[in-house]
């Protein structure tokens, strides 16, 4: 793909180094944003295992839960939460850029769209906490 273009003699064709993403802060932030998906995926696999163990009985669940309490796993959880929050924040901010919201003839300012999304996120999160912890 990138090698397919025919090259004219005499012209100098610059090569992009593999460390291109370190060259500018914007690129570094981009890479971090993309890597959030890895941490999220690992956690979701962990969650699937937990759900599976719930079905295997109280002892199996307790054993797995205990293993996921180890220092290594707790460090992962903290790091993964930071990455997950970074995904949420960047995703909502980019949504404001992409989604044009119209009310009649006027465009809703993107900042307002983003703020609204964060509020919705807060409501959803609180609702999930309520559903799992308060409802019996």
């Amino acid at each position: 793909m990138s090698e397919a273009r025919p090259q004219r003699p005499g012209l100098y064709y610059p090569k992009m180094p593999l460390t291109w993403w370190l060259a500018r802060p914007g690129y570094v932030r981009f890479m971090i944003r993309e890597l959030t998906s890895v941490f999220i995926a690992i956690f979701l696999v962990e969650l699937l295992v937990l759900v599976h163990k719930v079905g295997q009985g109280p002892q199996a669940y307790a054993d797995t839960a205990a293993r996921l309490q180890s220092p290594g796993w707790m460090v992962f959880h903290v790091v993964a939460l930071a990455f997950a929050l970074y995904h949420t924040i960047t995703w909502f901010k980019l949504t404001g850029v992409v989604q044009v919201v119209r009310l009649g003839d006027h465009k809703v300012p993107p900042a307002l769209v983003v703020a609204g999304t964060f509020v919705a996120w807060g409501v959803v999160s609180l609702f999930i906490l309520y559903w799992l912890l308060v409802r019996s």
């Binding site: 890479m31 999220i40 995926a41 699937l48 719930v54 796993w73 959803v124 999160s125 999930i128």
Partner: protein
């Protein structure tokens, strides 16, 4: 537009939906299952959990929560690999990434149906 001309819109759409699900739902679940419960800030008994995962609506919710962001990961990870120099291996990388997401989806279905 000829169908099958390129599947990119399909994978991008899954990536998009998975990204929305991950953005809205993953932080609170990470906080709950990764911090609050293991650290003992809150406790949820096994009996309650078992009752919850038995409910059809909860199963659907868990499927959305777990399976869809896998496609978000697959699409992003595919481009990470390409951007780190593996541009020439576009086809195998796509198979590896989207294939893993599909395997994960099947596994999720299997667990949720049985639990």
């Amino acid at each position: 537009m000829a169908p099958g001309k390129t599947m990119e819109p399909f994978w991008w759409s899954l990536f998009s939906v998975g990204g929305v699900v991950a953005a809205f739902l993953v932080p609170v679940h990470l906080f709950l299952h990764g911090l609050a419960i293991p650290l003992g800030w809150v406790s949820v008994g096994h009996g309650r959990l078992l009752a919850l995962v038995g409910q059809p609506l909860v199963k659907i919710y868990l499927f959305v929560l777990i399976a869809l962001p896998l496609y978000h990961w697959a699409h992003r990870f595919r481009f990470i690999l390409e951007d780190l120099g593996l541009h020439g291996f576009r086809a195998p990388i796509a198979v590896l990434c989207y294939g893993s997401a599909i395997v994960g989806t099947v596994a999720t279905l299997w667990v949720l149906i049985r639990v």
